[in-house]
Symmetry: C2
Subunit: 624 residues, 2 copies
C-alpha cells in the first residue's frame, strides 16, 4: 500500500517514508490509536477463530480439522500483517510484533520448496494450481503477501517475510511471462505489488512481470476452467484501449493503481492516457458523493453512467481504499490537486464509514440510504474489508505530504510531524497542527530548515471557496487556488509559522440531473465531510422518507462533544409530510394538491459515523 516513489523517474512528487512522518494529534491519531490498540488485536483473534491461520497450518501439515473457505483467506492475513507492520513503525509493541512473527513462521512453514504459497490450492486442489486464474485468487493473494513483506521489511529491517515473498515472486516469474506462460490475473493486486517489490529490491524482473500481466488483458485469453467475464474482469479490451471503468469495482481500481505504478517506473504515455480517460469516466459518471464506488450488488460492480442508487449501491469499503491508492499514484504522477481532492473524499466518507467508532465492527457495503435494519458485523465470512481498513489507517501518514525539486507539498491536513529531505539533500522538519476536518485552520511550524529557499505548497481543497494564507504578517487570499496549491517560496527560519485558513461553511449539494436515483434531493457537506440524517437524531417518530429539507433555510454547524465521540453536526430546517392522503397507493393520477406538512428541525451527522447507534433509518440525499 505504501508507495516508495522517491526514485521513481516519472514521479512529479516524491513520497515521504512512513518512518519520517507520524500522526501527532486529533481526528486521525484517535482512529489510528484505536486501530493499533483494538482493531489489529481484534483481527488477530478473528483470523484464529475464522480458520485463516489453521488453513496455513493445514498447508504446513500441522493443522487440524477442515479447510475454511473462501479460497482467498490467506490475503486477510497478509493485509493484517501489512497493517501491523505500518503500526510498528511508530508504535513499538512487542506483543503485536510477536503476533506478526507467529504468522510469519506459519507462512514459512507452509511455503513449498519451490516457493509456491497458497493454502487453498496446497490443501484443497494441489493439482489445480494456476488453472483457475479467473476466480482462484492465487495471484491476488501473492500480491498481498508481497505488499505485507515490503511493509514488514521497511518496518523492522528484517528480511524473513521479504524472503518468503521473493521466493514466491520468483516462482511466479518462472511460471509466467513471454515464452513461459500466459496469465490474466483474475483479481488485480499482483501488479502494484510487484512494482513495489521491484522498488524494494531493485530487481527489474518484478517490474517486467507486472508489465507482462497488464499486457495480457483484453486479448480473449482464457486460462483455466472458469471463463473470464470480460467486463467483470476488465478483460474486454487491451489496457491501452480502455476508455471506461467497468466490472468489479475493487478489481478495476486495484488494476488502475497497478497501471499507475507501472507508469511511475516506465513513463509510457499510453498508460497515463488510459488512466486519465478512465478517471474521467469514473468521476463524471460512476461515483457516489461519498467517493464510494460500485453501483451494483451483482458483481460488486460499477453500473452504467449515472446509475448511482443510494439504497442498493455497493460502495465496497475496499473500493474506496483502492480509489485512494489509485489517486495517490495519480497525484504523484501529475502533481494535480484534483487527485488529492478525490482521495480526501474517499478518506472521510466512503472509506471511513467502513469501520465503527470503536474499531471492532465493519461495513463491507456502504449504502447512502438505509430504510432501517442495517447493522455493522464484527467480521465477515468474506473478510477482505476489515484488514484492508486497518492497513489503510496504519499507513495514513503516507498520504499527507510529498517533496519535489521545489520543496514540500502538503496534500492532506492531518496533524503530523513531517521530516523530509528536499532535492538539495536539505533536511527539514515541519509540524502540522489542525482540528481538521472539524475546523479549517491549519498551522504549520517550520521546526528545522537550512538557509536555502524552498517552496511550501498547500492544497486548497476543491470544496473550499474562501481561503487565506498567513505567512508571518503577510495575509494572502488564496481562494483562487481552489483545486490547486497555494505556493510560498522563501528562505524559511526555524520557528516560522504558516497558517492556512479554510473557511468551512456547511453547504447544500445538488446532484447532476441525469442521476435518476437522487432526483429532487439535496445532500449536505461541510469541509471534506458528507453528512447524513439518522432517524435517531430527528424528532421522535419521524419517518425519514417523509422528510423534506428546506433549501432556503440556513444550515448551522455546531460542535457536539457528546455525540459520536465528538462531531460537528449540521442543523437544518425541514418538514415532515402527512402521508395519510396516499392511503395505501403506490401510484395515482396527478393532482395539484400538496400534502400537509409540519415544520421540523433536522440534525445531520457526518456520514462516516452512521450506524454506530443502532440500525435506524439513514439518508444522505434528502428530498427537497
Amino acid at each position: 500500500m505504501e508507495v516508495n516513489a522517491t526514485n521513481s523517474p516519472y514521479a512529479r512528487y516524491k513520497t515521504i517514508a512512513l518512518k519520517q512522518i507520524a500522526l501527532t494529534d486529533g481526528f486521525w491519531l484517535r482512529r489510528q490509536t484505536i486501530n493499533h490498540q483494538t482493531s489489529v488485536r481484534h483481527a488477530f483473534r478473528k483470523l484464529e477463530t475464522s480458520g485463516n491461520f489453521n488453513n496455513l497450518k493445514l498447508a504446513a501439515g500441522t493443522g487440524e480439522g477442515q479447510y475454511r473457505e473462501p479460497l482467498f483467506m490467506d490475503s486477510d492475513i497478509y493485509k493484517w500483517l501489512e497493517a501491523v507492520s505500518y503500526s510498528l513503525i511508530t508504535r513499538p509493541d512487542p506483543e503485536l510484533a510477536a503476533m506478526a512473527d507467529e504468522a510469519i513462521a506459519l507462512l514459512a512453514a507452509a511455503q513449498q520448496e519451490d516457493g509456491y504459497l497458497n493454502s487453498y490450492f496446497q490443501v484443497m486442489e494441489p493439482n489445480k494450481k494456476w488453472t483457475e486464474l479467473a476466480m482462484g485468487h492465487e495471484l491476488y493473494c501473492a500480491g498481498h503477501l508481497i505488499e505485507a513483506a515490503v511493509a514488514h521489511h521497511r518496518a523492522t529491517g528484517q528480511t524473513k517475510l521479504l524472503d518468503i515473498a521473493c521466493r514466491f515472486a520468483d516462482h511466479i516469474d518462472g511460471r509466467f511471462g513471454p515464452d513461459k506462460g500466459d496469465a490474466v490475473p483474475g483479481h488485480p493486486e499482483i501488479e502494484l505489488a510487484l512494482v513495489e517489490l521491484h522498488r524494494e529490491t531493485d530487481e527489474p524482473r518484478y517490474l517486467a512481470l507486472a508489465g507482462f500481466f497488464i499486457d495480457q488483458r483484453g486479448h480473449g485469453k482464457m486460462i483455466g476452467r472458469t471463463p473470464f467475464e470480460n467486463d467483470y474482469h476488465q478483460n474486454r479490451v487491451p489496457v491501452r484501449e480502455t476508455d471506461v471503468v467497468e466490472g468489479h469495482a475493487v478489481r478495476q481500481l486495484y488494476l488502475t493503481a497497478g497501471i499507475a505504478d507501472i507508469y511511475l517506473e516506465t513513463g509510457e504515455q499510453a498508460l497515463l492516457d488510459t488512466l486519465q480517460r478512465q478517471w474521467h469516466d469514473m468521476t463524471a459518471h460512476k461515483m457516489h458523493i461519498t467517493a464510494g464506488f460500485g453501483a451494483r450488488h451483482e458483481g460488486e460492480a460499477f453500473g452504467q453512467s449515472y446509475e448511482l442508487p443510494s439504497d442498493r449501491c455497493y460502495c465496497e469499503t475496499c473500493a474506496a481504499i483502492a480509489n485512494m491508492m489509485w489517486n495517490w499514484r495519480m497525484l504523484l504522477i501529475t502533481g494535480e490537486a484534483r487527485y488529492a481532492d478525490l482521495l480526501e473524499r474517499s478518506l472521510y466518507n466512503g472509506f471511513l464509514s467502513g469501520i465503527s467508532l470503536d474499531g471492532q465492527r465493519y461495513f463491507y457495503v456502504n449504502p447512502l440510504l438505509s430504510r432501517g435494519g442495517i447493522e455493522r458485523p464484527e467480521w465477515y465470512g468474506c473478510a477482505c474489508c476489515p484488514p484492508n481498513v486497518m492497513r489503510q489507517i496504519a499507513m495514513l501518514a503516507g498520504y499527507v505530504a510529498t517533496t519535489n525539486a521545489a520543496g514540500l507539498q502538503v496534500h492532506q491536513y492531518i496533524a503530523t510531524n513531517i521530516e523530509a529531505t528536499l532535492h538539495n539533500e536539505q533536511p527539514i522538519k515541519v509540524q502540522l497542527e489542525t482540528d481538521y476536518p472539524w475546523d479549517g485552520q491549519v498551522t504549520l511550524t517550520i521546526a528545522e530548515t537550512d538557509g536555502s529557499p524552498w517552496e511550501l505548497a498547500l492544497r486548497i481543497p476543491g470544496w473550499c471557496h474562501e481561503a487565506t494564507l498567513h505567512v508571518g504578517d503577510d495575509v494572502t487570499d488564496v481562494s483562487a487556488q481552489r483545486g490547486g496549491y497555494a505556493q510560498t517560496r522563501r528562505t524559511w527560519q526555524a520557528g516560522d509559522v504558516v497558517q492556512l485558513k479554510l473557511v468551512m461553511q456547511p453547504r447544500f449539494i445538488e446532484p447532476n440531473p441525469r442521476i435518476d436515483a437522487v432526483r429532487g434531493s439535496l445532500a449536505i457537506e461541510r469541509g471534506p465531510l458528507v453528512y447524513c440524517l439518522e432517524a435517531v437524531d430527528q424528532p421522535a417518530d419521524v419517518n425519514l422518507p417523509d422528510v423534506r429539507i428546506d433549501p432556503t433555510a440556513p444550515l448551522h454547524a455546531q460542535w457536539r462533544e457528546d455525540m459520536l465521540e465528538g462531531v460537528v453536526v449540521i442543523e437544518a430546517q425541514g418538514t415532515v409530510m402527512d402521508m395519510r392522503r396516499w392511503q395505501s397507493a403506490l401510484y395515482r393520477p396527478l393532482t395539484a394538491e400538496s400534502l400537509p406538512q409540519q415544520v421540523i428541525k433536522l440534525t445531520a451527522v457526518p456520514y462516516y459515523a452512521w450506524a454506530n447507534r443502532g440500525p435506524g433509518q439513514m439518508r444522505v440525499w434528502i428530498a427537497k
Copy 2:
C-alpha cells in the same frame, strides 16, 4: 395455469372452461395467432437445439452427447406442452399435435418404472434424487408436468400425459407426507398443480399433499445439502403467519397462487387472511407501475418497501404471469374487482412486454428505464419465461369471464364468444366485441338465453373515471361503480345489446413520494396501458435523460396505424435541458440557476411495445 373452479366450494365465481370461450378478434386474437403460428413452433426448434429434448432422450437411454443444464430444462418442455394444449382447443393443428405427441412419447420413455421423472437427476445425479430440494427444482418440474398433463387432457381427452403425471404424483405422494418424509419445495409450483390435478381426477390425496407442502414451510426444516435461504425461499415463518411478500418473486407468487388454490377447496380462513395481508404488502409497497414484480437482480427478488428502481428492477416476465395467476384465484375467491384490475395491469404491461411483436424474441427482465443497449434475445439459457408467455397467451380467454348464482361476470374486455352455463343449468351465449385497449367501447350481444332472468356484471376498471352503460334505450352513468361491477339483472332476449363506454383519457400518474427511484417524475397511462418514451420517437439527437415533461400541457392520444403494428400514441409537451453548464460534474453546490431548456414535442408509446425497433433509450418515468 387454467383453473377449473366450477366445483370449488369456496369459489364465489365459477370459471368457464376454455372449450366454452374463444377469442374472436382484435388485439389479443392477433397476439394469440402469432403465438400459435409462430411462437410455439419457434419454441419447438429451440427445445431441440437447446438440448431439452435430448436431455429426456438421455434419461430414456436413447440420447447422445452431454446433458445440458440448467437442471430444470424439463419444465420448459412442460410449459410448452401446456401452451400447445390450450392452443389445440380452439385451433386444431395436426402438425402441432404431432410435435406434442413426440414430446409426450419422450416423457413416457424417460419415466422410470417407479413413476419418477426428472431428466437431470436421472442422468446426472441418480443417487441424489430428493436430496437437493432447495435448488434442485424436482418438485417444480413435477408441478409443470402436472399442469401440462391436465391441460392436455382437457384439450384432447387423451390420458397419456395425464397418466404420466399421475404416476409421478403418486410417486411423490408415496415419498412425502406425514409419517413419510419432510419436504419444503425449493421453488413453489407443485402446490397449485396438485390442486388442479385433484380437480381433474377427484383424487383427494393430491389436495392433501399440496396442503402438506405449504404446512412444511417456516419451521426451520432443511432438506438436502443446499440450505434454504429463508427469505429467498419463503421459508422464514409458517405460511399462516406471513405478513409480507419477500424473496424470489416468482417463487413467492407461485406460492401465493397455490395457497389460493388450496383455499378454494378448503375454505380455511387463516390462509385467506394470509393472502390478503400479502396482497396488501405487495400492492402498497413492492409493485412497479407496470405490475412487474421483483426490485432486485440479486435473488430475482422483491426489495424493501418502496424500493422500486426503474433501471435495475427485475420485473421478471414469469413474475407478472405468476401475479396474474394469483390474482385470478383471488378474484374467484372474493369476487372483488381490484384483483381483476391488477391482473389487467400485469397483462397489458409487465407481462406483455416479455414478448416481441413478432413473437420470436423475449424479455426475461423488464426494466422501466433503458440507458440504451437492451435487446430482446431469441431465447435464453435459462428459458423459463418464453414458454410461460406462450401458455399465458394461449389460455388468456380463461380470464375473461365467470359465472355465479346470479349470472355472468365479465372481467377482461377481450373480444370473445362466451358460452356459459348459469347456476340454473341455463346455457347462454354472449358475444363480446371491442377494440380495447385502444378504445373503451365494449359491445355485448346476447346470442342465446332462456326466458329466466340473470345478471350481467361488467367490471368498471379502477383507471376509468367516466363510464356509461347502455342497455337498450336505458343509459346509466356507472362511474360510481369504478373498481367494482356494473350489474344489470333482467330477462334477456336473444339479440339484446349492452354497450359499456369506458372513457379513455390519457393521464399523468404520480408516484408515492416515498419511492426514491422515481421522485419528481411522472408516468403516462391511457386505459389499461402504461406508456413510455423511446428515443426513436423523439426529435433527433435528444438524450432522454435530459428530457423534462410539462405536466401543465395537455396529452393527446392518436391512433397510429403505421407504428408498432398499430398503436395509440400519446403526444405530450416537454423540454430538453442544455446540460453543458454541468460540464463533467456529478455533484455541485446548490445554485439558483435553472438550465436552459428547449421546448420539444414528446411521443409516448405503450410500454409493452418497447424494444421492437432497436436498443435505444427508454423511460417510463419522465422527470417533470
